[in-house]
Symmetry: C2
Subunit: 212 residues, 2 copies
């Protein structure tokens, strides 16, 4: 059994980066031990929830002492895979795609964008922050050569369905979708829909309701 | 009563941009009417769920004819507020902040970034895609003068807590947080946490589990 990736419910996984950020801050401040209660106060998550989430990773605190900060950081980092290099291709290097390629935060969190693909003759053959941009028709053999298994989808919404099929045909295993197009789930393919614009919709709506 | 912003549950709001993207595509293709079943097939969302979500917006289809595409697009656009201009400030113009300022997608979805704020003397006084960057110490009076009510938080995680307090003290009403720091909810302030890196964590984990 591979213990590197135990099954953890998605809501718990989403909270783990908060704990990591919190623990990294504590480490910078020279703190050596931390209780779930102390993390709880900082993040506004129930202490019992934190303890439960961390127990999935086999990280357990000690009575009265709490968690060892260095160990907790390592455990979270190992589990989250942020220290590994996951090769990815960027589908579409328009405004958002280009922005994501230039965001060094992604590589800090383990996403290694090795190539961009586009249809625009103006973009093909150029490079963005050192990442080469290829013709989308070359996706299949380029992907295999590069060994990338993740595709970030940042094409215009009307091309999203077609580009998704192209990626899957080319052997992509995980799709990180930034378009408002909802990609249907299918066996063997991981899909993460991150429609940042949907968050805007929620925010506007809540602001409108509050103004009443 | 202001009927512009009826209360709609958050999961429903998050699905509305999918419907809008789908409907815009149909409109481009010259389609005039669409049933919830047809939208359902394209998005893999239950037809009954779609009908329910749209009923919150007082949009109702007709038996055998379905929804009128133009009306549906207008209803979704009006509700989502993507056609309005919501003034916002960008807190932190490092890698991600700069990327978000240059993403024209945000303005297409109604977010009008009118200023950036940073602590770096190298950045202060410059402008990014026409957006001026000011010293973060000027936030309070600049915000008031600009009339911005939204702050996008893209500072390093260790500064997120402090910058959040500065924004709220300066009169910001809604925080769109891109850092892995979890901002506590508080009365009167809208908080949208969009930790894109948390999505990476989920994706890596699911990929690891599948390789077993």
């Amino acid at each position: 059994m591979d213990t590197r990736t135990p099954y953890v419910p998605e809501p718990a996984i989403r909270r783990l980066p908060w704990y990591l950020a919190c623990v990294q801050q504590l480490k910078c401040q020279g703190v050596e031990h931390v209780s779930s209660t102390a993390i709880s106060k900082q993040l506004n998550v129930d202490a019992s929830q934190i303890a439960k989430d961390l127990s999935y990773l086999n990280i357990k605190g000690k009575t009265r002492i709490g968690y060892e900060v260095a160990e907790l950081e390592k455990g979270l980092n190992d589990f989250l895979g942020f220290h590994l290099s996951h090769k990815a291709v960027m589908m579409g290097v328009g405004s958002l795609g280009r922005a994501l390629v230039t965001d060094s935060g992604l590589s800090r969190y383990g996403l290694n964008i090795v190539a961009g693909f586009d249809v625009s003759p103006r973009m093909i053959g150029t490079s963005i922050a050192g990442v080469p941009v290829y013709d989308i028709s070359e996706l299949s053999w380029r992907r295999e050569e590069l060994g990338a298994e993740i595709a970030v989808i940042a094409v215009p919404v009307e091309s999203a369905a077609k580009v998704t099929e192209m990626c899957i045909d080319a052997g992509i295993k995980a799709l990180w979708n930034f378009t408002p197009f909802h990609i249907k789930s299918r066996p063997g393919i991981i899909i993460e829909n991150t429609s940042i614009y949907a968050h805007l919709a929620v925010m506007y709506n809540r602001m409108g309701n509050q103004e009443k």
